[in-house]
């Protein structure tokens, strides 16, 4: 059997942050557990983090981060060249299917720990989380605790059994004592679904970020990122992907540590003074009062600076938070690209070590977001950050520029370029891992094991894997371009929700429940996946034209009333009125994708409903169709996953 890994990381990668780009809304961020950022607000779960400069993309002439092109491009070139060097080296060593999917199990625990960190901490985490903190204070930090929790689940419950029971994919683990074809098909479909949603969110975020940083068209940005990722994955396989992730993680932590140090130095290396600087900052107080709470007149007795350090500015619905929290805690363990990382180490002990290392690295990073986020709020001001991008995604970049010496200074340009390059490396590393996991499911589960009945020689398997990666990469580019206007938040929510509801229950039951069998696996995956997707489709994540129309109507009414009262409208108001009228006309009869006027499901995160449904379906399906053989084989998988006996041959089963 093989196995797969899942990855939760995504979450970490968390980040995803996307924000929703609807005009009338506040920035919604998204949250992805995985990626880091996730959606916080209401978020979507984890994952992917994307950075979506929605605000910037939308408003006509938003303020922009001014990069020094020459320096920025040379930094990008440096990263591209060094990672391509890794690919050339890795390609030579990739001969067999095991080399391609798992680097032959030859990655050490230490290396894998760094690579997992690189896989999980996405641009969303890097840019999105600190952005959230800079705009919403402590709520942003609450958000960054989510991704790490998913790793506790992985560390304690998943990593070692998966390493011992698996080979390349999730299908390998699940079909150990179940009938192979239906289980592989179901596992492959959910893997592809999770990876696609996540990948799409990353591609769109990457396109928007590169567009903003390099001032190139969105399409060019997506094609550029996509081409590089294809080169990495097709030629270098897991080995190259791993090293790209390691390099990225090292760069990311370097950038975070440097920035945090500079911020800390400004506050005299004294945490108490740092927090006092936040509370006493006039711009922050003003932002909380006017920008967030919208109190035209200060409320007596309310300290707006202290309010910034209290919860509730961003995360408003506790139930949605708990639902998101569930997705963080369980979803990471169901992410195929994270799962796959456990198969790259030689044994359970190294798998354990790699997760422990990843936990420390990611934890350190997320703790540092305190300095990045609050530092940006102090030194840039939330107003400026929000003016660049409503979701705050530019906060880290602006902070780098200011800490380096300010706009136009050599130090500022250099530091900004460095941080941009780190964001770029981050995106590449995360998408490469996703494409590899997705291709493994298609090439290994569907082609080799279902179509060819497992009868394919090494050469054929590697060729199939490479061709599949090429196709998946090309599709990612195509979909990334097509999805430019898609709601990233919803995509990340979907990825995490499907991972937690469809994948997590069946994996955990396969590993720990004697009676579990084929029927349970298939019904668990199918019901969990459909429930998660279905609930997101009717959730507030989607766009509801009637809601937009109603908001536009309000603006029209207010402004018309003003006009009727004989007041002349300022030019800005005139424009707003025209825009609101068009929006109203365009949206008044519209319906959401599902043909709804308003969300049927009140939460942005479906986990609280879809995860129990996934478990329930798996249990009912399994009890309805008992399978003696599966029960008899439980001892075998149970002994194996605990001891690692027969690990090398596990697949032949």
């Amino acid at each position: 059997m093989k196995n797969s890994v899942t990855a939760f990381l995504l979450a970490l990668s968390l980040g995803g942050f996307a924000h929703a780009a609807e005009p009338a809304k506040a920035p919604s961020v998204q949250q992805a557990p995985s990626a880091v950022t996730a959606s916080a607000q209401q978020s979507t779960p984890p994952a992917a983090a994307m950075v979506v400069p929605a605000g910037a993309a939308k408003s006509a002439a938003p303020a922009k981060v001014k990069t020094n092109k020459a320096i920025t491009l040379s930094m990008f070139a440096l990263i591209i060249l060094s990672t391509l060097g890794v690919v050339v080296w890795a390609a030579k060593k990739t001969q067999t299917a095991a080399d391609y999917y798992t680097a032959g199990g030859g990655i050490s625990g230490l290396q894998n720990g760094w690579a997992i960190t690189g896989d999980v901490v996405s641009a969303a985490s890097f840019l999105g989380m600190s952005g959230l903190i800079s705009l919403y204070g402590i709520d942003g930090f609450m958000y960054s605790t989510g991704p790490i929790l998913g790793f506790v689940t992985i560390l304690l419950l998943m990593a070692e059994p998966l390493r011992n029971a698996g080979k390349y994919t999730m299908g390998d683990i699940l079909c150990f004592r179940a009938s192979a074809k239906p289980v592989r098909a179901a596992a492959a479909i959910s893997t592809v679904a999770v990876s696609t949603f996540y990948l799409l969110a990353q591609m769109v975020g990457a396109g928007k970020l590169m567009q903003l940083l390099l001032d190139i068209p969105y399409k060019a940005a997506v094609i550029g990122v996509g081409t590089l990722l294809i080169v990495y994955v097709v030629f270098g396989g897991m080995k190259a992907t791993t090293w790209v992730q390691i390099i990225k993680a090292a760069l990311l932590l370097t950038a975070a540590v440097l920035l945090s140090l500079l911020v800390a130095i400004k506050s005299g290396m004294n945490p108490l003074r740092f927090f006092a600087d936040v509370v006493n900052n006039a711009a922050i107080q003003d932002h909380v009062r006017m920008g967030v709470l919208k109190h035209p007149l200060p409320e007596a007795g309310l300290d707006y600076g202290k309010r910034f350090l209290q919860p509730g500015l961003f995360l408003k619905n506790p139930l949605d938070q708990v639902s998101l929290g569930l997705a963080w805690v369980l979803g990471a363990a169901g992410l195929p690209h994270i799962m796959m990382r456990f198969f790259t180490v030689p044994n359970a002990r190294e798998a354990r070590k790699s997760i422990r290392i990843a936990v420390f690295l990611m934890g350190a990073f997320f703790i540092l977001t305190t300095f990045l986020g609050f530092g940006a709020a102090i030194h840039i001001t939330p107003q400026k950050i929000a003016a660049m991008d409503k979701g705050g995604n530019m906060a880290t970049l602006l902070l780098a520029q200011v800490m380096g010496g300010g706009e136009g200074s050599i130090g500022g340009d250099l530091f900004l370029a460095f941080v941009c390059a780190v964001a770029f490396a981050t995106i590449l590393a995360v998408v490469s891992g996703l494409v590899l996991a997705c291709s493994a499911a298609i090439a290994h589960d569907i082609y080799v094991n279902i179509i060819k009945d497992g009868k394919a020689n090494q050469r054929e398997q590697v060729v199939t894997a490479r061709v599949t990666s090429l196709v998946v990469g090309a599709l990612a580019i195509w979909m990334g371009i097509a999805a430019e206007k898609e709601n990233i938040v919803a995509l990340v929510a979907l990825a995490f929700a499907v991972a937690a509801s469809g994948n997590f229950p069946v994996i955990i039951l396969s590993l720990f429940w004697r009676k579990f069998n084929t029927a349970g696996i298939v019904s668990g995956i199918v019901v969990g996946t459909i429930a998660a997707i279905g609930l997101v489709l009717v959730s507030p994540n989607m766009t509801y034209p009637k809601k937009i129309a109603a908001d536009a109507r309000k603006i029209v009414d207010t402004l018309e009333k003003k006009q009727a009262a004989g007041e002349a409208l300022a030019e800005k108001d005139q424009k707003a009125l025209e825009k609101a009228r068009t929006d109203y006309a365009k949206n008044k009869d519209g319906k959401s994708i599902m043909g709804l006027d308003a969300p049927l499901f009140p939460l942005k995160n479906p986990g609280i409903v879809s995860i129990p449904l996934g478990f329930l379906a798996a249990i009912i399906g399994c009890l309805a169709f008992r399978d003696r053989r599966a029960e008899d084989m439980f001892d075998e998988i149970y002994v194996r996953q605990n001891t690692g006996i027969g690990i090398a041959n596990a697949i032949d089963h």
Binding site: M142, L156, L157, L272, Q310, V322, V359, G363, M633, T643
Partner: protein, 102 residues
């Protein structure tokens, strides 16, 4: 090991395996439940007791920030503790078991 014809159910019933298994389940699920419990307390606390979270403990640093930070500390603690226990107990038992089977 010749993976071949191990008698899996016999191994599963052997005292050594039963001991290993019981120890692991108690330890792993116990700590997992603890960490998840703390995390959901943080989420619920932020939602339902913002007043408590706003109480300043040291300077302007409040309960909410410290509690969020504590999630990381708890996670680090579990990672360290688990590493030690696994290296010391679980791996040793596993090794003995594998020896015995051979």
């Amino acid at each position: 090991m010749a993976e071949t014809q191990c008698n899996w159910s016999e191994i599963a019933k052997s005292p050594l395996f039963v001991e290993l298994h019981r120890k692991k389940i108690v330890f792993l699920y116990g700590w997992w439940a603890f960490s998840a419990g703390c995390y959901f307390l943080l989420l619920l606390g932020a939602g339902y007791t913002p007043g408590l979270f706003g109480i300043e403990v040291i300077g302007n640093i409040n309960v909410g920030y410290l509690f969020a930070l504590a999630q990381f500390v708890i996670t680090f603690g579990i990672a360290i503790h688990y590493g030690r226990v696994a290296d010391r107990d679980f791996d040793r038992l596993t090794r003995e078991l594998v020896e015995q089977i051979k």
